[in-house]
């Protein structure tokens, strides 16, 4: 198991390096410059000073090595747009809200999604199945930029049951989390249903039945663990998606999260901010994938053992 973890860890570092490199050089290919329209009005000597201040006067490979070194020390640079703030500061300030919202909606999605999927599979082709899959269909086909404003408008504003926006007490969490989790609920419910149906037709379920086990015991003891394996695989990307994909929901509910910062940095060509946030998102994705792989190994003995060779 240790060897398995170690190998995964090395892959993780390599992937991260590839992403940093790719983002860095892609940014250099972008037309325009980070000092905006003002740059045209500046005297050349002033522009040269500015460039020197940010290290842009050096050859690109030197810039790259310096950046790589900084990233290794946890320094993502200073924003071009707001010279008083480092990228790390922006992340520290904005990410907690995004993370909290992401985790809350992920938990909601896993609980509701898996439950719907299990019920649908156990009551295959009965009304419970059809209604669960109807909910999933709605969840998958209505995007969050429709759900979020509707929830905010009706539940928040017209009926006044919950606050329509802002990020203060726990009651402010419910609507955004719900809006964000709907699509994930749908995906998880459909996958869990398919997976459960597949497992239920396998031979070892018949073996379990031939031992005289009750249906409930067969479901909890034999089906769930095997059926959840494919779910765990997609859970990593889904988690990252939910944590980083909060832009629309953050905008609708006026939540001070990271998604907003990302978009504004792109429109202002804030090199360090774009590269820094991309690297940060990539790092989250890779870490979550790494954790997923480990979780997979814990659930499925076949994978755990293959690392032992």
């Amino acid at each position: 198991m240790l060897k398995y973890v170690l190998r995964r860890f090395i892959y993780m570092i390599i992937t991260l390096w590839v992403i940093i490199t790719a983002t860095f050089f892609l940014m250099k290919l972008l037309p325009g410059n980070p000092f905006g329209e003002m740059a045209a009005k500046l005297p050349p000597e002033n522009l040269a000073i500015l460039k020197a201040q940010y290290g842009l006067d050096k050859p690109e490979w030197q810039q790259y090595l310096k950046y790589l070194g900084n990233v290794a020390q946890g320094d993502l640079g200073v924003s071009y747009q707001f010279p008083t703030r480092t990228v790390i500061e922006v992340i520290k300030q904005s990410f907690p809200a995004s993370l909290e919202l992401g985790i809350e909606s992920l938990v909601v999605a896993i609980i509701i999604g898996l439950l719907l999927g299990i019920i649908a599979a156990l009551k295959h082709n009965k009304w419970q199945d059809y209604s669960s899959m109807f909910i999933a269909l709605v969840g998958i086909s209505v995007p969050s930029f429709v759900v979020a404003p509707l929830l905010s408008l009706y539940v928040g504003n017209k009926w006044g049951i919950l606050p329509p926006g802002l990020w203060e007490g726990p009651e402010h969490r419910i609507l955004p989390a719900l809006a964000l989790s709907l699509g994930t609920i749908a995906i998880l419910a459909r996958m869990m249903r398919a997976s459960m149906l597949e497992v239920s037709s396998l031979d070892y379920i018949k073996t379990a039945k031939s031992k005289g086990l009750a249906t409930s015991k067969i479901v909890t003891g034999h089906m769930l663990r095997n059926a959840i394996l494919p779910i765990v695989t997609i859970l990593g990307p889904i988690a990252v998606n939910v944590i980083t994909g909060t832009l629309v929901v953050e905008t609708v509910f006026v939540i001070p999260g990271l998604g907003y910062q990302f978009v504004s940095s792109i429109t202002t060509l804030d090199y360090t901010m774009i590269t820094g946030l991309t690297v940060f998102y990539a790092a989250i994705l890779i870490v979550v994938m790494f954790l997923t792989d480990i979780a997979y190994g814990l659930i499925d003995p076949r994978i755990r053992m293959s690392g032992r060779r």
Binding site: D203, T207, K209, G212, L213, G221, I299, P301, R302
Partner: protein, 343 residues
């Protein structure tokens, strides 16, 4: 004679599908005594597996239905066709055990073999987990696995196919069942392992005096361990008898075909293997007469119109074929008597 442990009478099982009703088993009767090994043979799709799994009620309803008038009397007191699911839970694993065809898929990949064996023991007998695990280790020793104390902590993927089938046998024997159903127990194994598994089953049968129903299409396996044989075709029993009756004095053209299609070491390499021409009938709409008539070289007009009843050859031997009717023309058996698969 003692009461049979299992008495199947006029068993009919159908599957309700979108395209109609598949009559998989169409009136099967046989009985099994204590300590007896009964082989059910026939080609794929003849209903032998459905018959076996219906005895343990393992075929899911829907789509399968046991028809009115069918009877499976177990141990003289349990009418299997009328029992509730919770009553069946008590019978399954406890009084009947089942061995499946493919040991690569019939064990749960995420549980240790010890946990899988002890699970059944703990369901039927009120014992502690440690005690059940100890019993599991004993069972593994019984089925010929060394280092049983370590084996119980292994997962199925760490064992070979033959070992897994031994685990499966141990699992089915966990609560000393009165009846063991082996559904093609050797089909998925390679030949050397097949022999070991058959030896093991025969050995265990002698030690424990368990009754065994052996489902197979391999006449070699039948010759190795069966006492009595039931030959099935298209959901019906076409011939039944003792092992010797079936191998030395078969009376049904389908049994002849089966025996002829066993490959032999001393046959001429240039000759093609004998096979029965044609395909089994469509069980959505089974034929009115004898189901084998369309493929039978001896078929007469009556075969196509009226389904034959069983004609008794002796007390234990009967065959459902019009050729046995007193008025039928005499037909020479097309094979030498005693063409046993093992020579």
């Amino acid at each position: 004679m003692a009461k049979p442990i299992l008495e199947v009478k006029d068993l009919r099982v159908s599957f309700k599908m979108y395209a109609g009703e598949v009559q998989a088993v169409r009136g099967v009767s046989f009985s099994l005594h204590k300590g007896e090994v009964l082989a059910i043979v026939g080609e794929s799709g003849c209903g032998k597996s459905v018959t076996a799994q219906t005895i343990m009620r393992l075929v899911p309803t829907p789509p399968s239905y046991i028809k009115e008038g069918s009877s499976i009397l177990f141990d003289g007191k349990h009418e299997i066709t009328k029992m509730s699911e919770s009553q069946m839970e008590h019978v399954r694993g406890n009084e009947m055990g089942m061995i499946f065809q493919d040991p690569m898929t019939s064990l749960n990949p995420t549980m240790t073999v010890g946990a899988q064996i002890s699970e059944g023991i703990r369901k039927h007998e009120k014992v502690k987990k440690a005690e059940a695990m100890r019993r599991a280790a004993e069972l593994l020793t019984l089925v010929g696995m060394s280092n049983a104390d370590e084996r119980i902590h292994q997962y199925p993927h760490e064992l070979s196919g033959g070992m897994r089938q031994r685990v499966m046998i141990a699992l089915s024997l966990a609560c000393n069942p009165k009846l063991l159903i082996a559904d093609e127990p050797t089909t998925a194994l390679d030949v050397t392992i097949q022999a070991q598994i058959i030896d093991l089953l025969r050995d265990i049968q002698k030690k424990t005096d368990t009754s065994i129903i052996l489902i197979t299409h391999d006449l070699g396996v039948v010759a190795e361990m069966a006492h009595n044989v039931v030959v099935m075709y298209a959901g019906k029993v076409v011939e039944r008898g003792t092992l010797n009756d079936i191998f030395y004095n078969p009376r049904h053209p389908y049994t002849w075909g089966l025996l002829r299609s066993v490959p032999r070491l001393d046959s001429d390499k240039n000759n093609e293997l004998d096979s029965i021409p044609g395909t089994p009938p469509d069980l959505y709409a089974p034929p009115v007469g004898c189901a084998f008539a369309a493929r039978c070289p001896y078929a007469m007009q009556v075969c196509k119109e009226i389904d034959p009843e069983h004609f008794e050859v002796s007390a234990e031997h009967s065959s459902a074929c019009w050729l046995l009717h007193p008025d039928a023309p005499k037909v020479e058996m097309p094979i030498e008597a005693g063409r046993r698969a093992n020579g």
